[in-house]
């Protein structure tokens, strides 16, 4: 069983890295980019019997810092 966790900065938290990527895209001539948000993807290879709730618990305790980040769990 695999799970994929998407961690993103919460809406409203300024993302300086995303902003730098947006700026660089503009420099390359990609004019239509209104905004870029950069996050991370964490793939977990899990033993059978782990539930989505267990993965959410992992997110709360370690994988995301919920002060500034939100997460989404996708079971594969």
């Amino acid at each position: 069983m695999k799970a994929r966790v998407h961690v993103m900065l919460k809406n409203g938290v300024l993302d300086p890295q995303g902003e730098a990527v947006r700026h660089a895209l503009g420099t390359l001539g990609f004019d239509g980019v209104a905004g870029v948000r950069q996050g991370k993807v964490i793939e977990l290879d899990l033993a059978a019997g782990n539930s989505e709730d267990t993965v959410k618990d992992m997110c709360e305790k370690l994988l995301a810092n919920t002060v500034i980040e939100s997460y989404q769990v996708e079971l594969l």
Binding site: L9, V13, L14, P16, Q17, A20, K61, L62, L63, N65, V67, I68
Partner: protein
């Protein structure tokens, strides 16, 4: 005063911290991150700067889950003192002992220079050696020192006089120019600038001495 300095893989200011504490008169022991207990009768736990666990996942996130951090949390819950500098501040926010979080610097650059800070409160063991309104110069050396917290947390920090230091010229985008914050019981201080790198003339300044001497003074009276 008995102090313990935690050493993680990747800590690089642990010895500087020990030197600064000893110079102020503390009895210092170094503790390894895999230790599950602190030395007996420790008054202060110092969490030093560096790049614990290579800053993997998030700065301080892995360190905050190490066995010694359980002992650190228990120490603080018993009313013990803790000081986190730079990566140590990041660790303290990741453990939840201090509010807020440290994000990538707004200009995306690693910043290494001495900056001026305004002492916002002298009402803590860490800052009683200063007067509120004093300007002090401490070195900073970080890539992720951009302090952030939600509006409610900020209002609480201001209302409870828990902002210890602010940058006079914000180098990293920190909200409200916050450089260091205190816990609710004022016994935990986290700050990005390095007071332990400003305790000898050879450092280029000695503004950090008052922090360590004030802390030691607190225990001399007790």
């Amino acid at each position: 005063m008995r102090a313990a300095v935690i050493v993680f893989p990747g800590s690089n200011c642990d010895r500087d911290m020990a030197v600064a504490l000893r110079a102020a008169g503390a009895d210092v022991s170094m503790v390894w991150h895999k230790d599950a207990t602190l030395p007996d009768n420790v008054d202060l736990v110092a969490v030093p700067g560096g790049f614990s666990f290579g800053d993997y996942l998030r700065c301080g996130a892995i360190a905050a889950q190490s066995p010694i951090c359980n002992a650190l949390v228990a120490h603080v819950e018993r009313g013990g003192y803790a000081l986190g500098v730079c990566n140590g501040f990041q660790v303290l926010t990741e453990t939840g002992l201090l509010p807020g979080a440290l994000m990538r610097n707004a200009n995306l650059k690693f910043i290494c220079k001495t900056v001026d800070l305004k002492v916002e409160t002298s009402a803590s063991a860490f800052t009683e050696g200063y007067n509120a309104g004093d300007t002090v110069g401490f070195p900073i050396a970080h890539h992720d020192g951009n302090y952030t917290a939600d509006a409610d947390t900020l209002a609480r920090l201001d209302g409870e006089d828990r902002v210890a230091f602010r940058y006079t010229d914000n180098p990293n985008g920190s909200i409200a120019s916050i450089a260091g914050v205190l816990s609710e019981n004022r016994r935990v201080l986290g700050l990005m600038p390095h007071p332990e790198r400003a305790v000898e003339e050879a450092h280029g300044g000695t503004d950090g001495q008052a922090l360590f001497r004030g802390l030691l003074g607190q225990f001399a009276q007790a």
